[in-house]
Subunit: 433 residues, 2 copies
Amino acid sequence: MPQFLNTSDADFETRFVALLGAKREDSPDVDAVVADIIADVRHRGDAAVIELTSKFDRLELTPETLRFSDEEIDAYCAQVSDEERLALELAADRIRAYHARQVPEDASWTDESGATLGWRWTAVSAAGLYVPGGLASYPSSVLMNAIPAKVAGVERLAIVVPTPDGVANPLVLLAARLSGVDEIYRIGGAQAVAALAYGTETIAPVDKITGPGNAFVAAAKRRVFGKVGIDMIAGPSEILVIADKDNTPDWIALDLLSQAEHDESAQSILITDDGAFAQAVGEAVDKRLETLERRDIAGASWRDFGAVIVTRDLAEAARLSNRIAPEHLELCVADPDGLSEDITHAGAIFLGKYTPEAIGDYVGGPNHVLPTARSARFSSGLSVMDFVKRTTLSKMTPEALKAIGPAAEILATSESLEAHGLSVTARLDALNK
Amino acid sequence: MPQFLNTSDADFETRFVALLGAKREDSPDVDAVVADIIADVRHRGDAAVIELTSKFDRLELTPETLRFSDEEIDAYCAQVSDEERLALELAADRIRAYHARQVPEDASWTDESGATLGWRWTAVSAAGLYVPGGLASYPSSVLMNAIPAKVAGVERLAIVVPTPDGVANPLVLLAARLSGVDEIYRIGGAQAVAALAYGTETIAPVDKITGPGNAFVAAAKRRVFGKVGIDMIAGPSEILVIADKDNTPDWIALDLLSQAEHDESAQSILITDDGAFAQAVGEAVDKRLETLERRDIAGASWRDFGAVIVTRDLAEAARLSNRIAPEHLELCVADPDGLSEDITHAGAIFLGKYTPEAIGDYVGGPNHVLPTARSARFSSGLSVMDFVKRTTLSKMTPEALKAIGPAAEILATSESLEAHGLSVTARLDALNK
């Protein structure tokens, strides 16, 4: 049984704060092991990567077979059914169309002093994408990471994906191909992250690494941060559904379960202004849990971290949602657009009862890599912006320097940075001669 | 003497790679101390902050005096000379005007399936800005951090600034006031970062912390990252000047020294296509070093980390610059706009001989918080974007769900996520009845 809270209860605030602060994830401390692996890959390159792959993935590689050949990728892609291929293509097209609108624009203008100012965006030259192997090997995540990089203009995009016992997921390879990925390596773990960050004889280093992974991968990304850029370190998935009583309880139950089935640490919360509806959704969840394939995982998540909150009205629901800052937020209410205006912190909003969150996982278009663990208060989902960077531009004319240079001299003096001031003074002296 | 390199020399590539990889900063390992301080502030709140401030800053505070009162700020601001006030106001106005153009736009569109997609930007609710005390207490950095936050729409902006022995910098307080800062606390170190991240009885927690600091501050920011957002951890400053022979050697020398005077770990590099000019700049640096106030610092930086590189032509200079990915790049050449087209990685570019980098530190308008240590390959300077986050929006109509839902069902099945698929199926079944 998940928690049932009611904002009218005397102990609501206490229980809500406890819910907000609940620790859902135990991160095993693998940092020392990861540090050793990274050092090993830095020193021995391919040899270390090959040894570690033999040890962890039971797979014997050579420098020549670290990378999937085009022929191998062809063969894997041919195994994908037409139905799946068409679905992946639809998803890729929609994700590409959405992200194409995110490409930021350069700017340049001349102000009243005569100074020309602006900025220019450029793409990261080379990016690496970590794709988990085994059960959590999701082709949709390949699309969601790789397509924004390619839309941004990343020239060289490399994927690392472990293939334990040599087993690869044909859909992952097809997703990579549809996304325009340039290189695919059959390696994983901290050793793959180290190879991308520092390079080996076979694998050229990249500038940025994105993509989800286990505790070893997360620790490795933290360690190489600075040497390369990384995306966020994602926590377990979350959904918050705000629903009024004019909803089918079973639909909402399935939406809650579609997060719960990801992971025992996932969190699904329903907020509604109707107590009877809350009850009905709880019952619908239990009914679906009887037959769901992943009922053990989903059931544990719902029992341990699920919550149902009954509020006085929907405005109160929106205020609670902003305190939660959910990764995914469904607004299954009569006026979802209106209610969304009250939402200030959320990774992604799904508007109306015909927009289940699962649409966003696959084919909606927006990215499914989103801020977890309340970090939507200060961060955004993955986008084209993660693969570009801005260079600011300034150009002074002699007149502009005369107009604003003296203020720079004064501030440099006040900060005791003499050479800063003199670099302006020397030019002004020449101009004023 | 800095290094002199020539791209025509046989050992150039080896020496250039060594220059790129030179470690300029020893980060003392203060992590254990910082962890203790953070835990102490989390558990004891104000009492811990007050004790630590007494210990490190020799300043006795109470919960009531942790924060500067409006009257105190008034009194400090009144100490600032008119000349300095006007210079700060000019800087603030120009920085505000530049950053106002960075405010990103919301988007919404309906595609051919009938799905309405888009995104909306919202500001971080509360931000904290760390301002170093003592010598490195720069009012310009207050403007550069605080103004983008306020332009972004941050409602509550708090500053922490240590005041060792009770000594505050009036210019810092005036800069804070000009920027619209809401609260100023006279605390510093890891304890101030912890107070901002976790809150105390007196200080409400924030969602994002930016601003430079010493090793303790940097370690504390790393530790609270996740609980709150942080900006980059900046390394020592750098400048790269690309100059042809039609420049005044003394001007270029001062530009190089204006980075070198920041810090013994700073790095100043000149790339030129003219050997005689390289020689002349080296001599001009030595001459200026005879009398510069901060000659000990600037001299050490120039000797240990400075470099002069002579290239065959300017195109080669641009290629080397892209490998360096400098924080600051001056293009003192006949066609700076043309050459800037070849630059793919740089934090900020200063175009032409009348744009010394110091202009950008104070009054140019662009931000002076920029990516160091080659991180311009994958990151950008501070901007309005650091204080906003994007929520993606999706809204399906029944028709849109019919059009794209089946693909989501197929992909959910291929990823063995049954509830994901069922959340779509249940709706499609009802629609198709």
